[in-house]
């Protein structure tokens, strides 16, 4: 009897404390840094450079949020996570947001209790094969040995694809990008499969990138999205609209070069004025200062700039915009209006 009372009391205290810790925004402001979960090392998306500074596409998302909330794009504590640890790190509050090329799926959104705040990269799973193999379609891969990074949705897609096409394969699970590359180059597998962006990034590091081709089939939809804990809607709004601000900024032609100039005085585009805090009080509505978007865009530029700098065609990764172009250019990026 006494024991149950004690247990109950302890549980009650736990619940109260849990409720108190739910306001992520306050935590971040009080801490002065944003804890952002990133990949342990994927060139172009998130990897420490030779000086130990994190850079990459997902990393820029963290920096933009830090700039919007704290005014300082460097006030980010990057927490490297593996496929296994990323969700626990977020659920347990170790990180405030996760920007780690994570695919938005139904069960992750609902069963695992996370909120995906919007797609920052539309990806799909592809196959990388040596040219010498003479394979032109993924359907020719019957009986092939396939290297695959464990702990990702790609594993499930792969099983589905081969089952659907009634062909067989032998999986070789690998733990990291580097090991996948190593196995593939040693010929321990015929093909390496992961998100097409990751394949491009991997191929870029090869001795002779031209000897390898990415097969035309894209076997899955992989909308990669940053995510936050379920239940803290204020925080989710901040991250969501920071992403939207970056996308909208590109659409409106706001770049890191001209953002301070444009924000200095109200122009004749009312939406741009609202975004940059010259009109209305959008910042206050999400609990931030009115120049939040200016800071976010100033951190690393708009979506297009970030893309070009980290994974675009002029980088070793060399990805085309493709689906990730603005809707006005035939892509899927379409920010809701700032109103």
């Amino acid at each position: 009897m006494t024991k149950t009372v004690v247990l109950g009391a302890l549980a009650g205290v736990g619940l109260l404390a849990g409720a108190a810790g739910a306001a992520t925004l306050d935590d971040v402001k009080q801490r002065g840094t944003l804890n952002c979960g990133v990949v342990t090392g994927l060139p172009g998306f998130g990897a420490p450079n030779a000086n130990g500074e994190w850079e990459g596409f997902d990393v820029s998302m963290c920096r933009a949020v830090a700039a919007a909330v704290l005014g300082d794009p460097t006030a980010v504590q990057f927490v490297p996570t593996t496929g296994k640890t990323r969700f626990t790190a977020l659920a347990s509050g170790e990180i405030d947001m996760l920007a780690r090329n994570t695919t938005w799926t139904f069960s992750r959104d609902t069963d695992l209790k996370f909120d995906f705040i919007g797609v920052n990269y539309y990806d799909g799973q592809g196959f990388l094969v040596p040219k010498a193999l003479g394979v032109t379609s993924a359907k020719d891969l019957d009986g092939a040995t396939v290297c695959i990074q464990t702990g990702t949705t790609t594993e499930l897609n792969l099983a589905d694809f081969f089952r659907k096409n009634n062909i067989s394969y032998e999986p070789v699970p690998v733990e990291t990008q580097a090991e996948g590359q190593q196995q593939y180059l040693a010929g321990a597998c015929d093909t390496y499969t992961t998100d097409a962006s990751g394949l491009a990034a991997t191929r870029a590091t090869f001795e002779n990138p031209g000897d390898h081709v990415i097969l035309p089939e894209i076997i899955s939809k992989e909308p990669l999205a940053p995510l936050v804990r379920h239940g803290d809607n204020d925080w989710a709004d901040i991250v969501r609209w920071t992403l939207n601000a970056l996308i909208a900024a590109e659409e409106m032609g706001i770049t890191s070069a001209n953002v301070t100039e444009l924000a200095a005085s109200a122009g004749d585009n009312p939406e741009m004025n609202r975004l940059l805090g010259n009109e209305g009080n959008l910042g206050e509505m999400i609990g931030l200062s009115n120049d939040w978007a200016v800071k976010a865009i100033g951190a690393g530029g708009n979506y297009g700039e970030i893309f070009e700098k980290t994974i675009g065609e002029n980088t070793p990764i060399g990805l085309a915009r493709g689906l990730n172009a603005q809707w006005t250019d035939g892509g899927l990026l379409y920010s809701p209006p700032f109103r």
Binding site: V13, A20, T40, A47, P48, N51, Q77, G93, Q181, E207
Partner: protein, 431 residues
């Protein structure tokens, strides 16, 4: 008798023949070869097989080692310099040297701090390891944890100073109360230490800039430094816990014994990696909400748990090896349990267990590489993660793994040689 010499006079030698050198076949290189390498045909075969193995290994490794490139910016450049010849690309070691040793986010200008802490480790460990070192240096051993903390983590010197004061204060109280009873002494000591640290906490909070080094967060530590850090901290922490567990397991109190047995057998029954998974993905759920202490601390807790179970078993062996008479002698002197253990049993049992403890320590140090599997960037993690994943150095695995193996070998071989030396010195039976 042969007939030809029938008439010869019996010969009696009157002086010694000068000592003749042993036959050619029994001296020098030839004899050594015959005795040590070719004594029987089976040995000869074995020798030839061994020579072949050595040849194969050297033929593979030597060109790679001697032909190695030590100056290049990337593997592509290495390949250009080698121009198709076989050779290692050791440039990765020179270029990423600091990352391999300190991880990628430790502040560059503060590299001297872990280096100094590492050097001081020898000063601090010497009086513990070698009895010939002046006893006065034990003060250095006592000061070391606090100095090392200050050097590695930075921040104000007041924090470790308060910790040190707390320990000293606790010890003084313990000395005063020990005459009444061990339990009182221990309790009083802990309370005093906690009180001093609590009060000192205000001073630290008040003066965060006093003699301050650039603060470094735990998660910024990596490379071989992280392996050393985890190894040293966890072994030091697990010793006292291991002793308690061993005593508990030997205890006559059934509940305490039962708790210790379950704990030890459980921890020894599961692989370390599952405990690290617990640290990484489960432990957070068992802590009060909002207390997110960082991964390195959780890992330290888990590895310490793991090591203490093994050390407990080693010490239990030491306790069991003591003759029963020692226990009875202590009882007959009228010592109570704490006194008997502290003054009679443990000093002897620990002495017997030292080699075993060192073995556990070496094993544990090697096992710190497993943290790379839970996304921490220790030496192996640095290699498997940022370095091999980089566009510059993707594909340079032999050189990196070889370097990691060498580094661990040097440390572990050193420790195990020490352990063997100690074992010979402590051997009191003359066989």
């Amino acid at each position: 008798m042969s007939d030809t010499h029938a008439q010869s006079v019996p010969f009696v030698r009157e002086s010694f023949i000068p000592e003749a050198p042993p036959p050619e076949t029994d001296t020098g290189v030839v004899a050594w070869l015959r005795k040590n390498l070719f004594s029987t045909w089976a040995y000869a075969l074995l020798t030839i097989a061994a020579l072949y193995v050595i040849y194969v290994i050297l033929a593979g490794v030597l060109p790679w080692l001697l032909n190695g490139v030590w100056n290049a910016d990337s593997i592509q450049q290495c390949r250009e310099i080698l121009a198709g010849e076989r050779g290692g690309c050791f440039a990765v070691l020179t270029e990423r040297w600091n990352q391999l040793l300190f991880g990628f986010s430790y502040p560059t200008e503060a590299y001297w701090r872990p280096t100094l802490a590492f050097a001081l480790l020898f000063v601090a460990a010497a009086p513990v390891l070698f009895t010939s070192v002046p006893r006065i240096l034990l003060v250095a051993t006592l000061l070391y944890p606090f100095a090392a903390y200050w050097l590695l983590w930075g921040g104000t010197i007041l924090a470790p100073l308060v910790g040190l004061l707390g320990v000293i204060g606790g010890y003084l109280v313990y000395r005063r109360l020990i005459d009444r009873s061990f339990a009182y002494g221990l309790l009083g000591g802990i309370v005093a230490a906690a009180a001093i640290m609590w009060l000192g906490g205000f001073v630290v909070a008040d003066q965060p800039r006093f003699l301050s080094l650039l603060p470094v967060q735990s998660r910024d530590m990596g490379g071989f430094m992280l392996n050393m850090l985890l190894g040293v901290i966890c072994v030091s922490l697990s010793l006292p816990i291991g002793i308690l567990l061993a005593l508990g397991r030997q205890s006559s109190l059934p509940i305490i014994k039962w708790i210790c047995v379950v704990f030890i057998e459980f921890v020894r029954g599961v692989p370390l990696i599952t405990l690290l998974f617990v640290a990484n993905v489960v432990l957070a759920y068992f802590l009060p909400p909002g207390t997110t202490f960082d991964l390195i601390l959780r890992v330290i807790i888990m590895i310490t748990m793991f090591a203490s179970a093994y050390i407990a078993e080693v010490i239990r062996g030491g306790l069991a090896a003591l003759p029963r008479g020692q226990y009875e002698a202590a009882d007959s002197l009228g010592l109570d349990y704490a006194q008997a253990m502290r003054l009679v049993i443990l000093p002897q049992a620990l002495k017997i267990s030292i080699p075993g403890i060192v073995n556990v320590a070496v094993g544990l140090f090697k096992d710190t590489t497993l943290v790379s599997i839970i996304s921490m960037f220790d030496l192996v993690g640095m290699i498997r993660g940022p370095i091999l994943a980089s566009t510059d150095w993707g594909g340079v695995y032999w050189e990196l793994f070889g370097f990691a193996a060498l580094l661990f070998f040097v440390v572990c071989y050193g420790i195990s040689q020490y352990s063997q030396w100690l074992e010979r010195r402590l051997a009191t039976d003359h066989r």
